[in-house]
């Protein structure tokens, strides 16, 4: 069953590339493919949420993989739909040719394939291979525009992430080494087999292994101070790709770190060592992101730094730990990806209309593109943690956890930084939405089709802010039990 979720995007990628110049057909295949991917993905997710983990040899899905799969197929299919009007506009303006568009859709499916591979692989070595593969595939998407700036972003992305990821491989080797005396030469590096003997693993190897894994996958997850590639890559790629990078890829890397965190929690070391490190990196990311959000001049970079901020919040959630910390962290993964995708889609509309990424040159959105302006405003309020949207809920959960655990100082600095980010972020967006539009800017949306996925996302984050569906809440509680947070 899990294989189907892997084969589908891979086959769709091949079809898109083979169809080549027949753009209409490629678009039809992409949208239909996105739909079928969503249906199949959701089926798997609900099955795992409902009946518990699926173990199919090298493939393994528990509720945690299920949550990640939910994020991948939701944002993946919406990004696919949003790509249609976005790429049509690029085609019309002569930025790209039809052949390149086919490659774009092909690589988008391939990118989704590699991310699914990350979350359904039981073998930790396989997880590494898949994470490295996400970098290699998405490099083409980041460098899609082939301009000087996007090449620079791609080069940094390739080099920094590859170097980070090789440290993660070193860490994986040490974790493997910790299991050899117990499992013998036949140890297969499967996460489930490591979990079965977690309390006997060698603590010294686990410690150094986790540090390397955290730095390695942390680079990919955009945790400061290894985040330097992120603002460049996220601002230079086409907007639907930015949405996938920010909303999904960062979470996949975080997922890899957290699998090791679970392992350490169940070992002799206990959770203290790894959660302390997560808290440290989380606070650092939040602080650095806040500083850069204040001084930002480019709205796509603004969104990119906001992603670093939110990865920091997720990390802090797991760092605080306990029931609310883990609940908040998990929920925040989903909430952030939905909200950030909405914002990047909105930014895509603005970029295509105004032709600039400078905040100072974008004014009067509410008059030129009223729907985009409203959705962007809603997204901005949501991402900065205003009620009644879903991020507010998860941010409060994380704060509660901090106070519950007696981590008063980190909890206070966490809430202070959130306030700073709120003021700075809203300041930038308000300037863009209101004011006098530039001379000669016509009124009218870029496309109606591009608004559909945005409205869908806006509805989801509003509903999720009001109540959390039972099936999701139950699944989250199962994951919390996995993390040992149900005391």
């Amino acid at each position: 069953m899990i294989e189907a979720a892997l084969i589908l995007p891979a086959v769709l990628a091949a079809i898109c590339i083979l169809l080549g110049r027949r753009t209409r057909l490629v678009e039809a295949v992409s949208v239909a493919g996105a739909g079928s991917m969503l249906v199949l993905g959701l089926y798997l997710v609900f099955r795992v949420f409902d009946q518990g983990s699926l173990d199919e040899g090298i493939w393994y899905m528990d509720q945690f993989s299920g949550l990640m799969m939910l994020i991948i197929v939701l944002i993946g299919s919406l990004a696919m739909v949003y790509s249609v009007p976005y790429m049509r506009h690029e085609l019309d303006s002569g930025e790209v040719n039809p052949k390149k568009v086919a490659y774009y859709y092909g690589f988008l499916f391939l990118f989704i394939f590699t991310m699914v591979l990350v979350v359904v692989s039981d073998n930790l070595g396989m997880v590494w291979i898949a994470v490295e593969a996400t970098t290699l595939v998405s490099a083409f998407l980041v460098g899609f525009h082939n301009k000087a700036t996007s090449l620079e972003a791609t080069w940094k992305y390739l080099i920094i992430c590859s170097i980070g990821i090789s440290l993660a491989l070193l860490g994986t080797i040490f974790i493997y080494a910790s299991s050899l005396p117990i499992l013998g030469e036949g140890s297969d590096l499967h996460w489930t087999s490591l979990m079965a003997v977690a309390d006997q693993l060698d603590p010294a190897f686990l410690k150094i292994g986790f540090v390397l894994v955290l730095i390695g996958y942390g680079t990919k997850a955009g945790l400061a101070p290894m985040h330097t590639w992120l603002p460049d890559a996220h601002s230079q790629s086409p907007s639907p790709v930015s949405a996938l990078l920010s909303g999904v890829l960062l979470n996949c890397a975080m997922y890899a770190v957290l699998r090791y965190h679970v392992l350490l929690t169940h070992s002799q070391l206990g959770g203290g060592f790894s959660s302390g490190l997560l808290l440290l990196f989380g606070l650092l990311s939040l602080g650095i992101a806040a500083a850069f959000i204040i001084t930002q001049k480019d709205y796509k970079r603004l969104l990119a730094y906001s992603s670093i901020e939110h990865m920091g919040i997720i990390s802090i959630g797991f760092g605080f730990g306990g029931y609310w910390g883990i609940f908040g962290g998990l929920l925040h993964m989903l909430n952030h990806s939905l909200t950030k995708a909405l914002l990047f889609f909105g930014a895509g509309n603005v970029l295509q209309k105004y032709g600039t990424k400078n905040i100072s040159e974008v004014r009067g959105l509410v008059r030129t593109m009223p729907f985009t302006a409203a959705l962007l405003m809603l997204g901005a309020l949501a991402i900065t943690g205003s009620p009644p949207f879903s991020i507010f809920t998860s941010e409060i959960m994380v704060l509660t956890a901090g106070i519950d655990q007696g981590n008063i100082l980190p909890a206070i600095s966490y809430s202070l930084m959130l306030v700073v980010v709120f003021a700075a972020f809203m300041g930038h967006i308000v300037k863009m939405v209101f004011g006098e539009p530039p001379q000669g800017m016509e009124k009218g949306e870029i496309s109606k089709m591009g608004l559909v996925p945005m409205i869908a996302l806006a509805v989801m984050i509003t509903i999720m802010g009001l109540f959390i569906p039972d099936v999701l809440a139950d699944a989250l509680r199962d994951i919390i039990a996995l993390f040992g947070g149900l005391a």
Binding site: L151, K156, I163, D188, A204
Partner: protein
């Protein structure tokens, strides 16, 4: 028991790998850079073969052969091909002068021995002594990446880091499970090809492969 001959062979090959690190830092020509890298990979493959012989694990032979084929033959040739195609000049253009670089690398090596000492005591593998050299190789690879101007030298630095990681795998766990090793080789190969393509594009756009021109994106 492990024969002294094998132990000698392992130590000699490990020493050669470290020597190659220093030669990489000391070389000023692009050509010699790829050649030394090929030699280092050859030594790495030899070391894996000795380990395979001693432990009797057949899959390590496969890994040794693959590592030699890929890292000592295919990848160096590909890098030479790219270098020729984009006609970069043959100088390495270090940002830190070579004598200074060598001093830094000596310090890195000593540091690597200090850092790995507690881990080496834990190791039960016959090759556990090599762990310090593998750390040194990882760090020197990173140093090469930050201290040399050309985009291509950064790719070679990355490959040296990968060699270090490979050595770490051999010296602590006698390599990883077969399926993982194969996947890692595949990723490395695809990665080098993609980086080659982008180095090519950078050259076409900026008319240089000097990575210091990549400074436009900042806050």
């Amino acid at each position: 028991m492990v024969s002294t001959l094998s132990l000698d062979a392992i130590n000699t090959l490990a020493a050669m790998i470290l020597l190659a690190d220093f030669m990489l830092v000391a070389s000023s020509r692009m050509r010699s850079l790829t050649r030394i890298f090929a030699l280092q990979s050859l030594a790495m493959g030899g070391l894996a073969a000795v380990v395979a012989f001693e432990t009797g694990a057949e899959h390590i032979y496969v890994i040794a052969v693959l590592s030699v084929a890929l890292k000592a033959v295919v990848i160096p040739r590909f890098i030479d091909y790219i270098t020729e195609k984009i006609q970069v000049n043959r100088e390495v253009e270090p940002l830190i002068k070579i004598p200074g670089s060598l001093l830094i690398c000596a310090a890195i090596t000593i540091l690597a021995y200090f850092v790995t000492e507690p881990i080496m005591e834990l190791g039960t593998a016959i090759t556990s002594n090599c762990l310090a050299i593998s750390f040194a190789t990882v760090l020197i690879g990173m140093f090469l990446m930050v201290s040399r101007k050309k985009a291509i030298t950064q790719v070679i630095g990355l490959l040296v880091v990968e060699n270090g990681v490979f050595l770490a795998a051999i010296s602590t766990t006698y390599s990883m499970p077969m399926v993982v090793e194969l996947g890692v080789f595949f990723d490395i190969f695809v990665g080098v090809v993609i980086m080659g393509i982008f180095a090519f594009r950078i050259n076409r756009t900026f008319e240089t492969v000097d990575s210091t021109v990549l400074r436009r994106l900042k806050d």
